[in-house]
Symmetry: C2
Subunit: 233 residues, 2 copies
């Protein structure tokens, strides 16, 4: 298309980056992935992982690309958090950042190599180190968004393996909301909802008695969503 004499010619372009906030569950704890920043300014400090958006690249695709490079995983749950647009938010120049948050099922067999290449580590949800620029604010915003979203989307199921136990799921929700949840009420509401399919086997890794394994019933979930079900406990 001919762009002469349009307002498009007069507008000035800006640098646009994506930054990823990555949540996962490891050792029954909710964790966040942080990185040693490799580029100036602020090289060596803790940061989120990001990248500039290319001219021929969807912003969402850029975020997916970052996550793929990091974890070697595709089809990851990812949502846009916010576009951070302060003029001076990046000390290296005027850069917009579109932040995305994602939930991944930590599987060390697949990820360890990639994550090490990025000088990354998982840190506890409630012990996030000082991060560069406005990345600390991004993480706080993401936690708020995660809590909001967790009420209507079964976030706990995204973070756990296909087969999981009720005590595991309970711990995820307790971590997300940073409070104790009554295990009887939790179990009661979940089982009554028909969201869980009990499997004929137990996980005995955490107790002698063993705990039944379940899988998520996606069909029930889709029906419940139409009627406004919530994952509040």
């Amino acid at each position: 298309m001919d762009k002469k004499n349009t307002i498009y010619d007069q507008a000035q372009p800006l640098l646009v980056a994506v930054d990823c906030i990555v949540f996962g569950v490891e050792d029954n704890h909710l964790k966040l992935l942080v990185f040693k920043r490799e580029v100036e300014p602020l090289a060596g400090e803790w940061s989120l992982l990001g990248s500039f958006v290319q001219p021929d690249e969807h912003v969402f695709t850029a975020a997916k690309r970052v996550l793929k490079e990091l974890t070697n995983m595709e089809d990851i749950y990812m949502e846009q958090l916010h576009c951070y647009g302060n003029v001076d938010r990046d000390s290296g120049g005027r850069v917009l950042s579109v932040a995305y948050w994602s939930l991944i099922r930590i599987d060390h067999n697949h990820e360890e190599f990639h994550i090490k290449n990025h000088l990354a580590k998982w840190v506890s949800f409630d012990q996030v180190p000082q991060l560069v620029l406005d990345h600390g604010k991004m993480v706080n915003d993401a936690i708020g968004h995660l809590r909001e979203r967790a009420k209507f989307y079964p976030i706990g199921f995204e973070l756990l393996p296909e087969e999981f136990t009720i005590p595991q799921l309970l711990k995820v929700y307790e971590a997300i909301y940073a409070r104790n949840i009554d295990d009887r009420n939790f179990r009661k509401k979940l089982l009554k909802s028909d969201l869980l399919i009990q499997l004929p086997k137990k996980d005995k890794s955490t107790s002698k008695k063993g705990s039944f394994l379940y899988k998520f019933n996606r069909k029930t979930y889709e029906q419940l969503m139409l009627s406004g079900y919530s994952f509040e406990f």
Copy 2:
């Protein structure tokens, strides 16, 4: 700061715009503000109002600027909706758009002149015309966001004048959720909440009996929010 030899030099900048979805209540109906697009491509078609973000301008400030030019109002309720980042979303070139939605109290004395200058009109919430580019999707997303937000933020109060009646407020909620709400239950929950301060006068513009005027009790609201009050009916 010296930007030589950093990744900032290699990144390619992009055009970034803001677009505004503006809601208001007029004649007891929830409405949306749309515009005749004045620039090519697609001049003459219905559109949201937007602008490019300047290099020295906060993205949020750009959205405020657009709204100020349009309505001559400042201190308007405005929230970021989403950053739309498709490569080919704008037929005039690659342009990111950060969409904002806002709620305004329609006051024709102040706004008429500005809105006419922009070839704008208020259209009914449920009769939005075909809009250019992805603006139709933006509006749909904004309506979803509005409904979500309305559960925890007293959006109805932002849209109405300082002094309003309960039937007026009910109509706003009915419009937002596009369904009938039981007026006895609505009234009961609101009055019990102590969110309304009854004024010693009535609005007789819509009935012979007249309806008591109320104002919003911001202090009660702030207390209720701490305990998770919701505006669901």
